[in-house]
């Protein structure tokens, strides 16, 4: 064991962390927006639009993230960072759409109808009746999806982006200290995931207390 190797490579690890954070944050935003869009389209009254959204979810979640990222990079010709973020956003959006969809379905339709009958607007129904209940249902699986994004961000290394896992392997090939490097990176990923889980729990509480 030679743990000092982690300290020697602290700058490489920090810059790797910066890339991982950037990919994760951008993907979280992109995937959530796309996921909301697809979930809304799925609820759309039009049969065709609803089925299209369903097809999107089915097709996208059955294709490995690596394929999407490679396709965007090699075939569509995007640069490495945009290809990674867009590929991962599309990948995760299908899962997030599914999660949101399930959340909305969990609230019985009668509640909306009752609120509508009481004279609430659609926005008021969404705000006062649907969202508080949907949020509690959706938060735990959504948290899992966000944590999944943290881990999936390692795919970016296949395009030569020097993110956290890339830097770890660099430590391994340069010093053969793979065990130390893997341990350090495990701790970092764990910290990232726990931060996201904590943050999501906080947001969930804020939203339900309204």
């Amino acid at each position: 064991m030679r743990w000092s190797v982690i300290w020697d490579y602290r700058e490489a690890l920090l810059s790797g962390l910066a890339y991982t954070l950037a990919i994760t944050a951008l993907t979280m935003i992109g995937a959530t927006l796309l996921g909301i869009l697809v979930a809304c389209l799925h609820q759309h009254p039009s049969y065709v639009v609803g089925r299209l959204a369903e097809t999107y979810v089915e097709v996208i979640r059955n294709i490995p993230s690596v394929i999407k990222v490679f396709f965007l990079y090699f075939v569509a010709g995007l640069d490495a960072m945009p290809a990674a973020v867009l590929g991962l956003s599309i990948h995760q959006s299908s899962y997030i759409a599914d999660v949101l969809d399930a959340g909305f379905r969990s609230v019985p339709r009668e509640q909306s109808e009752a609120a509508w009958a009481c004279g609430h607007s659609r926005l008021q129904i969404l705000h006062h009746v649907l969202l508080p209940q949907v949020v509690t249902t959706v938060m735990p699986p959504l948290t899992s999806q966000f944590i999944e994004i943290v881990k999936n961000s390692a795919v970016a290394m296949l395009l030569g982006i020097k993110e956290l896992t890339f830097q770890t392997q660099n430590i391994d090939v340069e010093t053969f200290r793979g065990f130390e490097a893997a341990t350090a990176v495990t701790v970092i990923y764990l910290a990232l995931s726990l931060t996201i889980a904590g943050g999501m729990a906080l947001i969930g509480r804020q939203l339900t207390w309204r």
Partner: protein, 280 residues
């Protein structure tokens, strides 16, 4: 100070923790003994040679459409197994997995594309050079063949962990290096204009630089020896490999296999540029 033993101990300890090494100390010790002991005796006793071969480096070693290992490395490994009179099992290696695999006993030796470096010699041992290759760059047809012309804004690529990274830094001023995990990805990036050159071993370029591919080779940066990688402090095994290499060179088997995969005679000689080791 660097201590090569401690990593093996770490691996052993990890194995013990995850239970892969079993409940008692004994299996871990056995693994340690394999790592330190006589591989030649082990291979003969097991009746099987575990040969590490590349699966991403045609024509040195790759996987054919049926999933079988093919190439120069696998063919040479077969000759060695025949000389030993044992069965042969291929274990795929990559630039990142080859050293852990030899350390933990998953392979007995690697017929790969590994250049003996001072850093690597701290952890593993090598046979005499079994291939003399060169390092150059795959470039698009019609572009400059001079390596020094590939400074920024041009991008040069190779794989993570390759020592070609150091050569780039030596031959190009402030190179913009993009690192991929596998060579096919790097060459694909060159074809799509993502990078302007891919640093490779010339032997492996045969698979990519073909008539009609639109690709060609730059000038060579250096000539580059490859050794058969073995575990450290295992003279019996290493001597046997060194000896057998020269025997199959003398018999002409080596040359035939090289010709089959490279389409030309080897432009080097085994053991030394002039002769085989006295006594072979």
């Amino acid at each position: 100070m660097y201590n090569p033993i401690s990593r093996r101990a770490a691996l052993g300890a990890t194995g013990l923790i995850v239970g892969a090494a079993g409940l008692s100390h004994a299996p871990a010790m056995a693994q340690g003994a394999t790592a330190m002991g006589d591989t030649l005796a082990k291979v003969k006793a097991a009746g099987k040679l575990l040969a590490g071969v590349r699966n991403d480096f045609p024509p040195m070693g790759s996987i054919d459409t049926s999933g079988k290992a093919v190439g120069f490395g696998p063919d040479i490994a077969e000759v060695f197994a025949k000389k030993l009179g044992v069965a042969l099992e291929f274990v795929p290696t990559t630039s990142r997995t080859r050293i852990p695999l030899i350390q933990n006993g998953s392979i007995d030796c690697e017929f790969g594309i590994t250049t003996p470096t001072v850093e690597r010699e701290k952890t593993v041992d090598f046979s005499i050079p079994y291939v003399w290759d060169a390092v150059g760059m795959i470039i698009k047809e019609g572009s400059s063949g001079k390596v020094a012309d590939y400074g920024p804004p041009k991008k040069v690529a190779t794989t993570q962990g390759s020592y070609i990274i150091d050569l780039f830094k030596q031959y190009i001023v402030n190179p913009d290096i993009v690192l991929f995990q596998e060579y096919p990805d790097a060459v694909q990036a060159l074809r799509n204009g993502k990078v302007d050159a891919v640093g490779v071993n010339v032997a492996s370029s045969v698979a990519y630089v073909r008539p009609g591919s639109g690709l060609m080779m730059s000038e060579n940066m250096v000539r580059d020896p490859w050794g058969i990688m073995v575990r450290p402090n295992d003279s019996n095994w290493r001597n046997w490999l060194n000896y057998t290499l020269q025997v199959i060179w003398k018999e002409g088997t080596y040359k035939a296999i090289w010709q089959k995969h490279m389409g030309a005679e080897p432009d080097f000689y085994m053991y030394s540029p002039y002769m085989l080791q006295p006594g072979v």
